[in-house]
């Protein structure tokens, strides 16, 4: 079970996500798809040059976090893991769900743990993914841990 796992990362709690992913894999042969979604949504009246600058910055950040993910998952000492790193642009929840469908993944591992205030003010990607994901989801509770 769970031979193909999707791990979305936004850079935060990356250590916890990797710990839980490793525990869940437990030495089996698994393909991990790590994804960083460049959120390109901006409010009305945002200057277009600023929007482009934001996308560029987020893309560079995404590349950095995906490399960090690769380093932390330690492929050298875990030959049972094969890793694909994906950088995509769009609304995080929609991209995660469509990628899960497209790649036919069996599980999504993602962090959750926003406070109630944050959830109301900022929204929750994990909550939206939970409602629309085509597969099982493993939620890593990250609140107050980092």
């Amino acid at each position: 079970m769970y031979n193909k796992i999707l791990v979305p990362t936004m850079g935060e709690y990356i250590n916890q996500l990797i710990d839980h992913t490793r525990n869940l894999i437990d030495g089996r042969n698994v393909e991990i798809i790590a994804v960083y979604v460049v959120d390109d949504s901006v409010p009305f009246l945002t200057p277009s040059n600023v929007k482009e600058e934001m996308i560029e910055e987020l893309k560079l950040k995404g590349g950095y976090f995906l490399d960090k993910f690769e380093k932390l998952i330690d492929l050298k000492n875990n030959p049972n893991i094969s890793l694909k790193k994906v950088l995509k642009k769009g609304k995080p929840d929609e991209v995660i769900v469509s990628l899960a469908k497209e790649k036919d993944v069996e599980m999504i591992i993602l962090g959750t743990g926003k406070s109630i205030i944050d959830k109301h003010l900022l929204g929750s990607v994990s909550e939206k993914v939970v409602h629309h994901a085509p597969c099982d989801i493993f939620l890593v509770r990250t609140i107050n841990k980092e």
């Binding site: 009305f44 277009s48 040059n49 934001m54 995509k88 769009g90």
Partner: protein
């Protein structure tokens, strides 16, 4: 009543046109600059510095040209107070966390304070060398049309050029280190699968010099956007003045609050959305960059060419409040490990409400 509704609609529509026209102008002038071989770094820093401040500049310019320059000064000072207390406050309350990097906070924060102090010194000097005069609305103010303010304005313009030079130098250093490395890594490493919408391997090109063909479409759009900006700014100031007269609100109050908050919408959306995405440098840079530009260019530069009226209250109350809010926000950052949290945000909004209340109901003549 119909007059109020009509002028409010004109004000909102012209405000949206001002913001969109400024956006089109910056986008196309950058493309023309790139086609003419202007450095990408210079274009990037210029677009970032004036991109969000063009609506304030345009409306302050039109206000000063239309002989209601105390409105122009009001827009600039009001925008700055709103940028610091209001926008930082709202951003901190919504995101719960705004982090400033040490270098930007020290550099931009210090420049913002120096700019504010420079403005007040120039204003006081000009007040000493000029006689109080009667403004168009009957209030006593100071007319600055003499050498001290021209000299002070030149110092302000040169100070902005110096700050601009520092920004370009820092941007070059940043590109030479992390950004370039990171862009190269994304371009080189085939195992990172990029979305097709990213247009493949173009990260390095975007950071390096590239010359594109000059297109007539960009030139036309620049001309059209300047025209739209000028007309919409004129309508904006005109509708705000009419609304002030109909509702019995002093023009300065209209400028300090309605126009300044309206023309600062780009700063609000950029600061808030970049903080929500964790791009704190952009968030902090937008606010500090904007307040520095707002003081040094609209007031500094325009007063060289056209005498400006400075209301006594702007000199002795609004400008000191502006400097105080900059100092307060820097202290809040410094006290909390260069972070603003929700409590700091609530404090800043509270500060703005107290300022608005005192200015409108105690000092504003309402």
């Amino acid at each position: 009543m119909l007059d109020v509704i009509l002028n409010t609609i004109i004000l909102i529509i012209s405000l949206i046109i001002v913001i969109k026209a400024a956006d089109v102008f910056i986008e196309n002038i950058s493309l023309i600059g790139a086609a003419l071989g202007v450095s990408q770094i210079l274009l990037g820093v210029t677009a970032a510095a004036i991109g969000t401040s063009l609506p304030e500049f345009g409306s302050a310019l039109l206000a000063i040209i239309n002989h209601s320059s105390h409105m122009g000064v009001g827009i600039v000072i009001g925008s700055n107070i709103w940028n610091i207390a209001g926008i930082f406050g709202i951003t901190a309350i919504i995101t719960g966390f705004v982090k400033a990097d040490k270098k930007s906070l020290n550099r931009d924060g210090l420049v913002a304070i120096i700019t504010g102090v420079l403005l007040i010194v120039v204003m006081i000097l000009s007040a000493k060398f000029t006689n109080p005069s009667l403004l168009s609305n009957g209030e006593i103010g100071i007319v600055s049309s003499n050498m001290p303010i021209i000299f002070g304005s030149l110092i302000m313009a040169f100070f902005y050029l110096y700050y601009f030079k520092i920004l370009i130098k820092d941007q070059k250093e940043s590109l030479n280190s992390f950004k370039k490395e990171s862009a190269k890594r994304i371009d080189d490493r085939q195992e990172i699968i990029l979305d097709s919408s990213f247009n493949g391997n173009n990260n390095i090109n975007k950071l390096e010099e590239k010359k594109e063909k000059l297109k007539s479409k960009n030139v036309i759009l620049v001309l059209v956007s300047i025209l739209a900006l000028a007309i919409a700014c004129d309508f904006l100031i005109d509708s705000a003045t009419h609304l002030a007269h109909i509702m019995g609100i002093p023009e300065t109050i209209m400028a300090l609050f309605t126009l300044s908050i309206g023309t600062s919408i780009p700063e609000l959306v950029v600061t808030l959305s970049s903080a929500m995405k964790g791009l704190y440098d952009l968030s902090i840079g937008t606010v500090f960059g904007s307040i520095t530009f707002n003081i040094l260019i609209p007031i500094g530069l325009l007063s060289i060419f056209n005498p400006i009226h400075i209301e006594t209250l702007s000199l002795y109350f609004d400008t000191p409040v502006m400097i105080l809010t900059i100092v307060v926000v820097i202290i809040l950052f410094k006290l909390n490990n260069r972070e603003l949290n929700r409590i700091s945000g609530l404090f800043l909004i509270g500060l703005y409400i107290v300022y608005a209340y005192v200015r409108i109901f105690f000092l504003g003549g309402m």
